[in-house]
Structure formats: C-alpha cells, structure tokens
C-alpha cells in the first residue's frame, strides 16, 4: 500500500488498538507530527481504548492477594540495591541513577554468587559458571563507572542535558543526551535500545519552541556492546530553545523527515 492509499481516519482506530505494522504506525505518527488536530483525534480514540478494561465483568479477587503483594515488596526491599543519594545528584543523571538502582546492577546482583558457595555446592561446571558471572559483574561495574565518569566530564557550563525515556515501543530504554553548543556536538548514552539493521538508524530530532516540525539532528546506530555515540550536529537549531528531543527508528538513507516510530523522548 502506498502513501496515497492510506487514510488517517481508517488507520487511527487500528493504531489505537495496536493493530498496525511498523510501516503503517510510522505513517500515522508522521501525520500526527504534521497536523496537531489529527493528534487530538488519535488521542480521543486511544482514551476510548484505555477505558475498555472497565468493561470486563467484575471478578472476586482473593483477599490474600494484597498481603502477597506486600510480602513481595518486602522481599525486594530487603535485597541490597546499588542506589545513589537523590538530593545531591543533578537531575540529568537520574536516568542512569534509575538504571543503577533498578536496571543493570540489580538484575545482575540477583545473579551475583559467592565463588566459595559455588565451589561448596558443587562441581567444576558450577564453579566455571560462577566465575563467568563474576567476570560479567566486574565488566558491568566497570561499564557503569565509565558511564558515570563520562557524564561528569560532559556536565560543563553551557552544555544542554536531556533525560531520555523510552516510549511504548521501547519502554525499558533510558538514556541521557548532552548537547555541546560550542562544539556543535551531541553525545548520547542509552541503555536497552537494541541495535538496528545496517540500513537503519536511530535519528535524533529537536522540537524547537513554537516549531511545527521537528529538526533533524543526526543519527546513530551503536552496536550492542557500545553505550555511547557522538557526532557533530548538522543544524544550529538542534541547540538553544528546544522544547523536546525525540528519537525515531528510521531508514538510514531516507530524507531528513521523521517516518519511523518514536522510540525515545526527552522528559519535560
């Protein structure tokens, strides 16, 4: 189906019910970017869809479920978690502080096992697995320390820092974007954003205050083991009075017009 055959009125309800393929979703999202009234129409449809759970026939819920929930929270709270004090940390670091407190170290911490215990319970295979886990934990700690150090160097006066959060397409993605206007440079640090095909890329867009259309600010597609990307900004409007930064997944060779799905956005 080419663009001329598509009708927003037909695709919007399907979009609201998450029934479209990536191509049609991208088309709808491009229409919304171009026409705010279409965005309102879609929002109304989505609001309708989001009320559907109320139509489920009421079911009796086990009275013990609440206690089970609180027990689960207590067991989670009892586990040691690497967190940083919230007061002294600057706001732009919060995604990575969130990551450290809820993301990589916590997941890995659940797998952190004492080598002595491994040897005790048995066997060369278990011991090798434990050593591998230990090495992975060490590597991840080193990676996170490098990320924190890199962020500190980027926190210079005049730099613009944005906390990034994944959309429904990539709900677990988190990151930080640093714009250096003097160097016309962008540095992005992201987690849980999978690599794309070689012919695709994540594209950064700036929505300047009062602008109707986003400004293309470059693209990146880091491999799985690379967390940071850096490039020269192609447009001076990528820094300054920017209302929001957006990241889409697009064809790497397409014209600088957003067509792919929105995967991350800066938090206002």
């Amino acid at each position: 189906m080419n663009n001329d055959d598509r009708c927003f009125c037909e695709l919007a309800p399907l979009y609201a019910l998450d029934l479209l393929d990536a191509d049609d979703r991208a088309w709808v999202e491009a229409q919304i970017l171009a026409a705010p009234d279409l965005a309102e129409e879609l929002a109304a449809l989505e609001a309708t869809v989001h009320k559907l759970p109320f139509t489920a026939p009421p079911q009796a819920i086990a009275p013990t479920l609440k206690d089970r929930l609180l027990q689960r929270l207590d067991s989670v709270n009892a586990a040691p978690v690497a967190t940083s004090p919230s007061v002294s940390q600057p706001e732009p670091l919060s995604p990575f502080r969130s990551l450290e407190s809820r993301g990589v170290p916590r997941q890995r911490a659940s797998r952190r096992v004492s080598a002595w215990v491994c040897f005790g319970v048995g066997g060369a295979i278990a011991a090798i697995a434990c050593i591998a886990l230990g090495l992975e934990n060490y590597r991840l700690r080193q990676t996170n320390q490098a990320i924190a150090a890199r962020l500190q160097t980027l926190q210079q006066a005049g730099n613009q820092i944005y906390a990034l959060q994944g959309t429904e397409k990539r709900p677990n993605a988190v990151g930080s974007l640093v714009i250096n206007p003097q160097q016309r440079e962008a540095v992005i640090l992201v987690q849980n954003l999978p690599p794309l095909r070689p012919d695709q890329a994540y594209r950064l867009w700036a929505m300047p205050n009062g602008a109707a259309k986003p400004i293309y600010c470059g693209q990146f597609n880091p491999p799985a083991d690379q967390i940071t990307s850096q490039w020269t900004l192609p447009n001076a409007r990528c820094y300054g009075a920017v209302a929001q930064m957006l990241i889409t997944a697009d064809s790497a060779n397409a014209p600088p017009v957003p067509a792919g799905p929105l995967v991350m956005q800066s938090q206002s």
Binding site: L19, T48, H50, P53, F54, L73
Partner: protein, 218 residues
Amino acid sequence: MSAAPKPIEAGGWVEVFGLTLGFRLLAHSTELILDEVDLLRRIAQQEQAALAELYDRYAQVLYSFAFKSLNSAEESEEVVLDVFAQVWRTADRYDSAKSQVSTWLFMMTRSRILDRLRRLQRTSRVAIAAESATEIQLPMPSVDPIENALLDEQQTQITLALAQLPPPQRQVIELAYFQGFTQSEIATQLNLSLGTVKTRIRLGLNKLRLALASQVQR
C-alpha cells in the same frame, strides 16, 4: 469555605490534563486525578500505605481485566502482582501530562496479559462472544466513596457504550484488545475478510468514542 469541590450545574467543556470533560464531572474528576497523581508521588517515595491505597482502588478492575483475557485466577493474580510491583519500582517515572493513572495501569496490565497469552501459546483462543455486562455486586475494599463512585461512573459509561455497539463490531474490538489478536487472526477466527475486520473495528471504535463523548455532555 468548604474544601470539597461542588459540582457546577452549568454545561460546558474544559480541558484538564488533555481530557475534555463536562463541567458536571469536572470538580470531582479533577480531584480524583490530582489525588491519584499524589498517590503516585507518595509511592515514588516508597510509601507502602500509598501503594495499598492504589491497590484498593484498582486491584479488582485490573484482576477482572486480566481474568477476561486469561480466564485463569492464578494467572490473573500474577498479573496484578506484577503490575503493582512495577508501579512500586517505576512510580517516579509516571508523567501525569501523558496519561491518567488508570490508563498507565491498564497499559501495564495489558502488556503483562499479552506476555502471558504468548507464553501460554494458546493455539486456539476462545472467541469472546458479545455479552452484556453482568450485575455482580462484590464487596469493595475500603475505598473513599467519592473515588469509588467516580470509578463506578467510568465503568458504567464505557460498559453502556460498548453494549450499544452492534455485536459484530464489539466482538472484533474485544478480540483485538482483550485477546491481543492481530487483524489477520481475527479474520481467520471469524471467517471474515481482512477488510471487513478493519471496517468493523473502525466503525465500532468511532461509535464508542462518540457514545462516550455524548454521555459526558449530558
């Protein structure tokens, strides 16, 4: 001056957090929205009492939602536990400008439901027949009467609106939303063309939207 908001009798429309509301609902609805946003703020500060309060308001709705899709008490309970555990972990990421608390909860719940449906690898899902809302009266946990009434009102509005849809339109919407069927799967399940499925979804969802809007105007 009373702290409790009083309903305004005159008709009209107002935008609140991106929602268009009639004046008659505005006062109480606004209070509910702000109260729930405050609950999330408190949960973000790891206040278990706030999570318990949110649980009291929404656990049954979420459980019923999961049960309609999964038809299993055990699976539905796990969904509810997972959702509230996720709320506990991510409350500080909730953005009231993007969605209501209920929407946020429903989206998380649906995501968990679809995960479980895929995991269960049901090869033959039961087609949800068009059915009217049942009149089950269940004892509610201790919830503020005003919040309870507002949730009941939302439930009544959408249930009535859905009941007014032609059964074929209601059926395809429910298969898509509650069972996570794709358009092709719905077409296969109901022995319809893809075009017919798309048309029924489009007509049904637009009718629902208009029905809800007309209910708010009254």
